[in-house]
Symmetry: C2
Subunit: 534 residues, 2 copies
């Protein structure tokens, strides 16, 4: 073997493969070579200033040495199609001719990127707390309502400075108001000592999973389809994601028997089940669970000894009066003994969704219920190591849980803006559902909540074959073609998981110009089907 | 054995022990019991609605089942003494009589908690970008300088809304300005594609370690004493922290031979060394490394195949003209081939320190140099899963790297505020160093950089014995007594690591009223020595 060939495994590689088999194969071939060439860090071991020669191009961090859990984690929402969308956006900016004049990011629930106006009240609070001198400028009374000026003053008295680290769990006064919000919502007590403010719900989910997972045979039940944060966070913690299926034919509701059989199957395979994740309202499905489903889930968690993770970040995005939001905290405590005082429940909320839509501010909270003191202590230690969530995010949470009250100067504008956003989203979802259901081979459930639609697409066998040939999942193939033809960026169903041999995509209904959007999609879909018709 | 005794291991426990031996012992006793009682989740395995009875008080998450890596992580900066300080603060607020009238938090580098005023320019930018309507109010020209109004307008054009998720690496335009800042600082090229904006330096350190560590035998060299984020992050990643000692007698400089022997020893014990961490200026030591030390470190990283982690968050806290800040990026590239193009370097910066002191805003960045493309790709994936750092933090970084220029309307006030903070900190450090060196048995190096002093205290044997009796480290015992007597909260040296049989504490020099502070400390120290004199 030539020296150049031997040296190659040590040099940086630009191609990436994240499959385990390929990685193991490469690591094995690497081990052989390490004995012959100074390629591994071990071969540099010496305390003499006269060092063994090293391959200058050696890199410590390569696909062979990177944490396997990181290599294997996937996050489709910002995956290959999203990256291609960025390239197309750059092309447009550079003046390149494309079949469309704008790229529309329907892949991420990022309302303010799609021109949703922020709530004025929240932004006024943000500006005044960021620059408290502003509160006392005489000109400010012409700019800011009196109630906002007064509240900003109180907030600064409570927190000191937005530039200081707060308590690692978040500002105590804000946590008190979160507890009050939960109590008024649910009619059950809540304690600020069990509430942690976070930099969005994702950080909270990751931290809780990190505390929970203690061995590679630990498993967590996740709904399929699911928001891929869960599979990614489980992969990073080297735990098993155990699927249970939502029923598309029953408005994405839960089949309890199917859940029980998932539990049985996982245990028979040696999985130590530790928790069950519910996303309600659902992402990507847009469903709201029935009260009966929720009670079944609580009972199962109790009977089976599972922590219940309730991802409730879409609790304000509700479109059907017949299915109002009920929190799992309420469902649990309404059930009474033995459930209410014993099922370990963590519920997540966020300022990124709802009518607030402040994704870029990074704010949220979680509440721990029935957790042992020692568990709370470890969650707190993890929060301490991370110092604290940004004060801007914390103030965002404060405004979310205690908006202006009826009678206050800011109330009417706040209500008008909030209702406007809610109605706009409901209207857009209806237009899109109708448009999807008119497409050949496409069916789509109505959105009961959240900000997503998840239509099924029946793909011709020729399209499936073409996808396989291109090394892509069929729905990824379809979504990429959609992007290239229309500039509309969605996420293929395979990124969320779906029943075998079904194909979907997820789109937000946040983009303005829904009719034009539907038209672009229809033209693409027809031409795609014509190209691949069996 | 009575049934109650058998049941107990399943019930919540309030006491916490994080030592491995105790944890293993308990786990073993648990395993035995699990076969007899429905205490483990396995014993609930059933698909029948008629469930086996469960112990209602069963908890999934207990010290027996929590992730061992989390259990074992420690973070002294917000540890037991900090928690006691909070209790004392609550006592004072509740009107309780204590030997002092305020608790002074010298345990955390949190300048704005200790009344350091934020830089006006940064806060004006924050307010205007949070509430862009403000830019166009006619009254605003009376409140904000024209250059800030113009810049805020440009920033909003670049980012869209502070409420939208940005690119996961941070706003491209801000990353370009970070690259320009690095180029002007170092005289070497920097690329925005290798710069990641973060929610403070800590997030960056954690993410990089997560990518780097792939097996429990992996090790990372850390300076002793060190900022405990590193030991905590390594514990969470189940990697080995391999100490190398800074030399207190040589102004906390590096002994290269000692570093080499640490490397040799670690390898002989089977540790796969992957990286070396440097904190420069030092935390908790306040030292600035000599250029010679820095070049030695670069050569060692090259020779030994180690990634270099350069924690440079205190680069603006410099107090000696004879030791100006030099970045490791500059030291590396000034050295030329073969080092410049091959040593994998990640350097961290933050808005929390320097004269900015915006800890609560959570902003920072890191730059990757000589990382393989595949490594950058994995770091990017991790950033994507975490969505993005807060836009408020990102705008803070933008202002840090591109402050007002000479000639602009805001320049003079900005410079005055900045110089004022720098001079105040230098003055306070000098007063405290002098006071410490006058105490019996205490010696303290001058602060060359950062915002900490780390004096040695010679403790009488009787005090050491009393500490052992109380189950505390001797310097923790001393620090706790200091807190109870004076209200001053510091961190014991044992929280950072120190040479065997030496005792220290770390204090910030951020608190106002340095003379009174020194006096309180002196009175306590004398009475402590009198109590425990041999």
């Amino acid at each position: 073997m030539a020296l150049a060939t031997l040296l190659r495994p040590c040099a940086p590689r630009s191609s990436t493969s994240s499959t385990m088999l390929a990685s193991v194969a490469r690591r094995q071939s690497r081990v052989t070579i390490a004995h012959r060439l100074p390629c591994s860090s071990h071969s540099f071991a010496t305390t003499s200033p006269a060092m063994a020669p090293r391959d200058p191009a050696y890199r410590v961090i390569t696909n062979d040495t990177i944490n396997k859990a990181v290599l294997q984690a996937e996050y489709a929402v910002r995956g290959a199609i999203a990256i291609r969308a960025e390239e197309l956006r750059d092309d447009l900016e550079a003046g390149k001719q494309l079949p469309f004049d704008s790229v529309v990011s329907c892949n991420i629930g990022n309302p303010q990127q799609l021109d949703q106006k922020p709530l004025t009240y929240l932004r006024q609070m943000a500006a005044l707390t960021e620059y408290p001198d502003l509160i006392d400028f005489p000109e400010s009374t012409k700019i800011f309502p009196a109630d906002v000026l007064a509240r900003a003053k109180r907030t600064i008295e409570e927190i000191g400075s937005t530039g200081a680290y707060s308590h690692s769990m978040g500002v105590p006064a804000i946590r008190k108001r979160v507890a009050k919000f939960i109590e008024e919502r649910d009619g059950h007590p809540a304690s600020p000592d069990k509430i942690f403010l976070t930099a969005g719900a994702s950080t909270g989910v990751s931290n809780l999973l990190q505390v929970l997972i203690s061995s590679p045979s630990d498993g967590v039940l996740i709904p399929i389809p699911q928001y891929p944060l869960y599979t990614a966070a489980l992969a990073l913690n080297e735990a098993r994601a155990v699927p249970y299926y939502l029923q598309e034919s029953a408005e994405w509701g839960l089949d309890v028997e199917d859940l029980r059989s998932s539990i049985k199957k996982a245990r028979s395979e040696g999985t130590k089940l530790k928790a069950l994740v519910v996303i309600n309202p659902g992402n990507p499905t847009g469903n709201c669970l029935s009260r009966e489903n929720m009670e079944d889930i609580v009972r199962i968690c109790y009977d089976e000894g599972l922590v219940l993770f309730a991802d409730e970040v879409y609790q304000d995005n509700i479109y059907h009066h017949s299915k109002p939001f009920t929190s799992f905290k309420k469902a649990l405590h309404d059930l009474g003994a033995p459930y209410a005082d014993n099922v370990e429940l963590v519920s997540f909320h966020s300022i990124s969704k709802g009518q607030t839509g402040e994704c870029g501010r990074r704010g949220g909270y979680f509440e721990l219920d029935n957790f042992s003191e020692e568990a709370v202590e470890q969650v707190y230690k993890l929060a301490s190591i991370q110092l604290c969530p940004s004060l801007g995010g914390q103030i965002g949470v404060d405004v979310l849980v205690s908006p202006p009250k009826e009678g206050e100067e800011s109330y009417l504008l706040w209500k008008k803006e909030r209702d406007g956003i809610a109605n706009t989203l409901k209207g857009r979802s209806e237009v899109l559902v109708k448009a999807f259901n008119q497409l050949e081979g496409v069916t789509c459930n109505e959105a009961e909540g959240a900000m997503y639609l998840f239509p099924t697409i029946t793909l011709p066998q020729k399209a499936i074959d073409a996808a396989k040939k291109a090394g892509q999942e069929p729905d990824a193939f379809y979504s990429l073609r959609m992007l290239e033809a229309t500039g509309i960026c969605v996420v293929p169903g395979s990124g969320f998981g779906q029943a075998p041999n079904t194909y979907h995509f997820r789109t937000t209904f946040l983009a303005p110009g829904t009719d034009a959007f539907a038209k672009r999609l229809q033209t693409f879909h027809e031409s795609f089907l014509n190209e691949y018709r069996d």
